[in-house]
Each structure stands twice: as structure tokens, then as C-alpha cells.
């Protein structure tokens, strides 16, 4: 079933896009990540221009995070104060990211910078996940329980001035720390078309030392608003948001996310997490090799 995308200006197979959204949705439901880091590269592989892929992925992320936020808010899994600070940082980050994106576009270096950022992020996150799931699997095999990590925020965070109380997160830290984290994630959202959950969640746990009870909900809360803001930024500057593409992706991903959430309670997620980590590292390695190999397309065209 071929369908024409009015902004991307190409025809795609609607079922393939819905299926792509579905697979990413299942992963996001299981691991609490938005999945934008898989959607965007896969859309680009299928021939959609990077700008449209990035912009439309952010629209899809907005929709995909709604039901998650609602569910987490119901069981008090969202620290709204922390979320607010993260969002404030995130929105400033999207503006900075948009400016940076424009500069890179004019210099013609978008694809290289995006590829390098993806490589760093994917390999870093992949390595982190491998370590984590391996520890869990080993502990289960040997029967020695893992010592629960001492929850503490990073010394740099502790050194920042001006402290606020974040009751939901059980923290008394400077709001500058979550603001900075939000800023970084907002920038990445604009540049890479990712929700940033897979950066945000580790940062909340290891950097801010937030209570795990509110980590996923608050992260989704921030992603929801920042992705919506990013959609607006793209609609006003790059004009690359393809609403038809976003709807197709959403049809798949919202369904997939619900299935994924159900699956996660039933099956052993550790091996799957290991698999996802391997996938991240594989994609990173492939992208890294791609930078060094002579590309098929030496030339690229920009309409001025």
C-alpha cells in the first residue's frame, strides 16, 4: 500500500512505516525509551530526507509519550517540579539546537556531525546497557544478589550553588543541574530527532541521583513537552514536519508501546536489553565505518 508523503515528496509503503513504528513502539514500551534514536536513522535509510525524518520523528515522539505520562502521573510517578526545571532547560536547548543546526546546514556539515553524535551516544549507551544487564544476568546465575547502588548525586552537582527541594525525587540540589541536563537533551532533540530518554534516564539516575520511582515518568514528562516544542521549532524554521508520516509512525508506535508495556511484565527483559545494547553498538560501528569508507554519494545537492 503505497502512500505519498506531501512534505517528504516521495511515496512510501504505508505498512512498512506502520510496522517500523510498531517495532520501535514495542522497544519503547519495554525499556521506557522513546525510540527516536532508531526511527530517525531507519527513516533516512528508507530514502526520506534527514530534515523531514528528524522533524517528523519529534512529532511522533510527542504522541508516543502522552499515554506513558498519563499512566505514570496517575500513580504519582512524575516529579512535576523537577520536570518543570528540565523542560525550561529543554526549551532553551531546542532554541540553541535550532541555531546550531542552521549554522551546520549552511556549512554543509550536518550529516557528519549528526553521524558522529549518533556514534558517541549509541556506543556509550550500548556499553552502559551491556554492563548493567550482564551484572544482572551474572547475579542471577551465581545467586549472589547485587548490592543496591548507593543513591547519590554526582559531586559536581553537589557543588552547584542555589539549592531547591525536589520532594518527588527526594533531592535537595541546585536547579542548575537539571536545567543543564534538560538543555543538553533539548539540543539533542532538535539535532538528532530523538526524545532523549536514553540520555535523560541515565543522567537522572547517575548524575542527579533521583529516586528511581519517578525517573521514567519525569523523563517522559520532559520529553513530551520538549518534543512538542521541537515540532513547533521545526514547523516554523525547517518546515519539514510531515504530518502524514508522523501519523503513520504513531499508528504503529502507540500500539507497539502498549504491547511492549505488557510484554515487559511477562518476559525476562535482561536478554532483550542485552540484545538492544548489541544493536546500538552494531549501528554505531556501522555508522563509524561509514564515515571512513568512501561513500556511494560523493556529491549532495541543496536547493537554494
Amino acid at each position: 500500500m503505497d502512500i505519498y508523503l506531501p512534505i517528504a515528496e516521495i511515496s512510501v509503503n504505508a505498512l512498512v512505516i506502520i510496522l517500523l513504528g510498531g517495532v520501535v513502539g514495542i522497544l519503547s514500551g519495554m525499556f521506557g525509551v522513546g525510540g527516536g534514536f532508531l526511527t530517525t536513522p531507519l527513516l533516512i535509510f528508507s530514502g526520506i530526507s534527514p530534515a523531514v525524518a528528524v522533524a517528523s520523528a519529534t512529532t511522533q515522539i510527542t504522541g508516543a509519550s502522552v499515554s506513558g505520562v498519563a499512566a505514570h502521573a496517575q500513580r504519582k510517578g512524575v516529579d512535576f517540579r523537577m520536570g518543570g526545571v528540565l523542560i525550561a532547560g529543554g526549551i532553551v536547548g531546542t532554541i540553541a539546537g535550532g541555531f546550531l543546526f542552521l549554522q551546520l546546514q549552511q556549512a554543509g556539515q550536518v550529516d557528519v556531525v549528526v553521524a558522529i553524535l549518533y556514534i558517541i551516544l549509541l556506543s556509550g549507551i550500548g556499553a552502559l546497557m551491556v554492563r548493567e544487564s550482564w551484572t544482572v544476568i551474572q547475579a542471577r546465575r551465581t545467586g549472589i544478589p547485587i548490592k543496591p547502588p548507593v543513591r547519590r548525586h554526582h559531586p559536581v552537582v553537589a557543588a552547584l550553588p542555589l539549592r531547591w527541594r525536589f520532594y518527588g525525587s527526594g533531592l535537595y540540589i541546585s536547579p542548575l543541574a537539571p536545567f543543564g541536563v534538560g538543555f543538553l537533551v533539548g539540543t539533542l532533540t532538535v539535532m538528532l530527532g530523538i526524545g532523549g530518554g536514553f540520555v535523560l534516564v541515565p543522567a537522572m539516575i547517575y548524575l542527579l541521583g533521583m529516586s528511581t520511582r519517578v525517573v521514567v515518568g519525569t523523563s517522559l514528562f520532559q520529553i513530551l513537552f520538549v518534543a512538542a516544542a521541537t515540532t513547533m521549532v521545526h514547523a516554523l524554521t525547517t518546515q519539514a514536519v510531515d504530518i502524514v508520516l508522523a501519523i503513520l509512525l504513531l499508528l504503529g508506535s502507540v500500539t507497539g508501546a502498549q504491547i511492549g508495556a505488557r510484554l515487559s511484565t511477562r518476559i525476562n527483559a535482561e536478554w532483550l536489553r542485552l540484545f538492544l545494547a548489541a544493536l546500538c553498538i552494531l549501528v554505531a560501528v556501522r555508522m563509524g565505518l561509514g564515515l571512513g569508507w568512501r561513500p556511494d554519494e560523493i556529491y549532495s545537492i541543496q536547493i537554494t
Binding site: 515540532t231 514547523a235 516554523l236 504530518i243 504513531l250 502498549q258 564515515l291 556529491y299 541543496q302 536547493i303
Partner: protein
């Protein structure tokens, strides 16, 4: 205007010599190609008749060549080179106008039909396209960018020469079929038909064709271009609604 001038000249020359030349009467099967949700490309048929003076079909065979050419764009072409082991954009060249789409339909390879000079005059064939560089690159570099652009668009199916795409019946009636790929840009196109004999262009005619988005597709494209804020807001609201609906639906199951 230049090409029109040439055509006008061609039309006048025989009159001056007191000898009539053949004429072309072309038609296209669709003057407007509409892109709708199910658009996967189209086939344009250009057909017509050759009118010979006194109605006499010449003994020597004639060739019909049809060129479909689409909106002129001002573009920037970038070239990747290896720097510190990484392939990145290093050089660039600007073209003031290059067609976004160029398809040539003929019965046999164009270099068997006309010589290089004639091909250059009428822009027959991808190698004879007049791309107008706007930046002052050294000649060999400009040449490289020319070839790079043609190669890239060629692989995208946007610059093509289609062989066996023209049929001439009894030396009088002809029809040419041109495949239009799904990723053609919208805009104004021209379909030029040339009558060629012994490497000389005897007649030429032009028909305009327009490729547009229609209905919902046009609505979306205009909304995105002209009402960015409302469009963005609509996109956000639609995605919120879909996400929320899915959440409710699945809670029931």
C-alpha cells in the same frame, strides 16, 4: 527565449528558400499530472503526427526525440573528500539553474541520431545539458561538479535517457512514452518534440505540462509553507490525540 528564437528561425528559413519543411503536430495525454496520496509515478505519453510538405513521406528514415524537462532550480552541490579519515563535505559549487528533472525519449541512442554540436544546441542528451555554474570554480573542478550532479540525479532517476521509448508508424504518426518517477518535484515542465533526419533538426514543438499536488496533499503542503505556526500546532494536537486515544483503548482491553 533563445530556443524559441532558434525555432522561429528554423520555421522561417524554408520560407526564405521557397521550400516547405515538415511540421510537427504534437499532443500530450495529460497536461496536468496530479500527485495524490497514491502517487507512485506516472507515464506521460506524447504523441502526434508529422506533416510533410505535399504529404510526401521521405524515403530516408526520420527520428523523433522527446525531451521532458522540469522546473529550473538554483542549487548548491557539495563534494565530499576524506579529511582525517572521515568523509566530509569539503568543496562546493553553485549552479544558477539546473533542471530538477530531465528525460529524453528516443528510439535509439542519441549519439547515433545527432552529432555533438547539434546535441549541444538543442540540449539533446544528459551530456549536453547546459548547466549554468554560478561560482567561479577552476574549469576542471567545474567539470567534476557537472559530472557529479548528473551522476547523482541519474542514479535518482531524475536525469534519464529512455531508449526504445519512441515509435514512429509509417513515418507519419509517432508516440513517445516517458516514465515519471514518484520523486519528481512539482512545478512547470516542458515537453519538447524534435523531428530529426540525417542528424539535422527539421522541426520542433513545445507543450507545457504542469505537475501539481492536489487535494489533501496540496492542502498539507500549503499549510506547512504558509501557516507554519498553525500547522505545527495541528501536528502536535493530532499526535497528542492519537497517543491519548491509544492509551484509553488499550486500558479497556
Amino acid at each position: 527565449m533563445n530556443r524559441l528564437g532558434i525555432l522561429l528561425f528554423l520555421a522561417l528559413v524554408p520560407m526564405l528558400m521557397g521550400q516547405a519543411r515538415p511540421r510537427l503536430v504534437p499532443a500530450v495525454d495529460q497536461e496536468q499530472i496530479e500527485i495524490i496520496y497514491s502517487f507512485t509515478g506516472a507515464e506521460l505519453m506524447v504523441y502526434g503526427a508529422i506533416l510533410y510538405p505535399n504529404g510526401r513521406v521521405p524515403d530516408e528514415p526520420v527520428d523523433i526525440v522527446v525531451v521532458l524537462k522540469g522546473p529550473e532550480q538554483s542549487i548548491l552541490v557539495r563534494e565530499k573528500q576524506q579529511r582525517m579519515g572521515i568523509w566530509m563535505n569539503v568543496a562546493q559549487a553553485r549552479f544558477r539553474s539546473a533542471p530538477a528533472f530531465y528525460a529524453l525519449a528516443s528510439a535509439r541512442p542519441i549519439d547515433e541520431i545527432v552529432d555533438e554540436r547539434t546535441a549541444a544546441i538543442y540540449e539533446l542528451g544528459i551530456d549536453s545539458l547546459q548547466l549554468s555554474p554560478a561560482s567561479a570554480n577552476p574549469p576542471e573542478e567545474a567539470q567534476r561538479f557537472d559530472e557529479g550532479l548528473v551522476d547523482l540525479r541519474g542514479r535518482g532517476g531524475l536525469y534519464v535517457e529512455q531508449l526504445d521509448a519512441v515509435e514512429v508508424t509509417e513515418g507519419v504518426l509517432y508516440n513517445a512514452r516517458i516514465d515519471i518517477p514518484a520523486r519528481v518535484p512539482v512545478g512547470e515542465y516542458t515537453a519538447e518534440t524534435f523531428l530529426i533526419q540525417n542528424g539535422r533538426v527539421l522541426a520542433g514543438e513545445v507543450r507545457d505540462i504542469r505537475i501539481t499536488k492536489s487535494g489533501f496533499e496540496r492542502f498539507v503542503a500549503t499549510a506547512a509553507a504558509e501557516h507554519g505556526f498553525l500547522y505545527g500546532l495541528a501536528a502536535v494536537l493530532v499526535s497528542l490525540l492519537l497517543g491519548w486515544l491509544a492509551g484509553i483503548l488499550f486500558r479497556r482491553i
